[in-house]
């Protein structure tokens, strides 16, 4: 596992579990929404309301990270996590812009923005893992 570590504090363990759980919920909501759109005839108004659903677990994940950063007592670890989040955010934004320009200018199919949260999480976790490895 990417973040396997035996020395996690209770707040790190709990926040990691919550973050992972809400990431899975986000994916399930996306999949359910996709299937609903494809296989059922729902009125447009209701469909637009349903499209707001994936925002709930994503917002909860951001809340979980914010709460973790607020409660983390180790300032060095807090700095590493913040840097990793910035890496995740930066890579996601750069990727989004590059694929957006490709889609606009060259009419090619870029990565769907649905995957932004996955790119953010994976890049952030890889950055955190590298930071922890560098500071062993």
């Amino acid at each position: 596992m990417l973040l396997h570590c035996n020395h996690l504090s209770p707040i790190q363990r709990r926040s990691g579990f919550l973050f992972g759980s809400f990431l899975i919920v986000t994916m399930l909501v996306f999949a359910t929404l996709h299937l609903t759109q494809e296989h059922t005839a729902i009125p447009n108004t209701f469909l637009h309301l349903l499209e707001l659903l994936p925002a709930i677990p994503v917002a909860t994940m951001i809340f979980v990270v914010g709460r973790y950063l607020n409660r983390e007592t180790d300032e060095f670890v807090r700095m590493l996590v913040t840097q990793s989040l910035l890496w995740g955010l930066g890579v996601t934004m750069v990727g989004d812009i590059v694929f957006g320009v490709m889609f606009e200018d060259f009419h090619t199919h870029g990565l769907s923005q649905v995957y932004n949260i996955d790119v953010f999480c994976i890049t952030g976790l890889i950055a955190l893992r590298i930071q922890l490895w560098r500071n062993q």
């Binding site: 020395h7 007592t73 180790d74 300032e75 060095f76 670890v77 700095m79 590493l80 922890l132 500071n135 062993q136």
Partner: protein, 68 residues
């Protein structure tokens, strides 16, 4: 910022993990402070000073002071 953390720790025969436990931080934090990659906050600096029964100035010095 330079510091005498490694020396002070060695005088007491503490490992980085021992010091980390006493400070309630991770071992990585102690390592980063010792190697000068991370400057601790004022509360953590006070905690270190209290732990080694000395002053903050006796542990941490700015680079210019160190060279003087």
């Amino acid at each position: 910022m330079k510091n005498r953390l490694r020396v002070l720790r060695a005088e007491r025969a503490w490992s980085q993990a021992d010091l980390a436990d006493r400070l309630a931080v991770s071992r990585q934090s102690v390592n980063a402070i010792e190697t000068g990659r991370f400057d601790p906050s004022l509360p953590l600096a006070f905690k270190l000073a209290r732990l080694f029964d000395t002053t903050i100035e006796a542990i941490f010095t700015t680079d210019s002071e160190f060279g003087a």
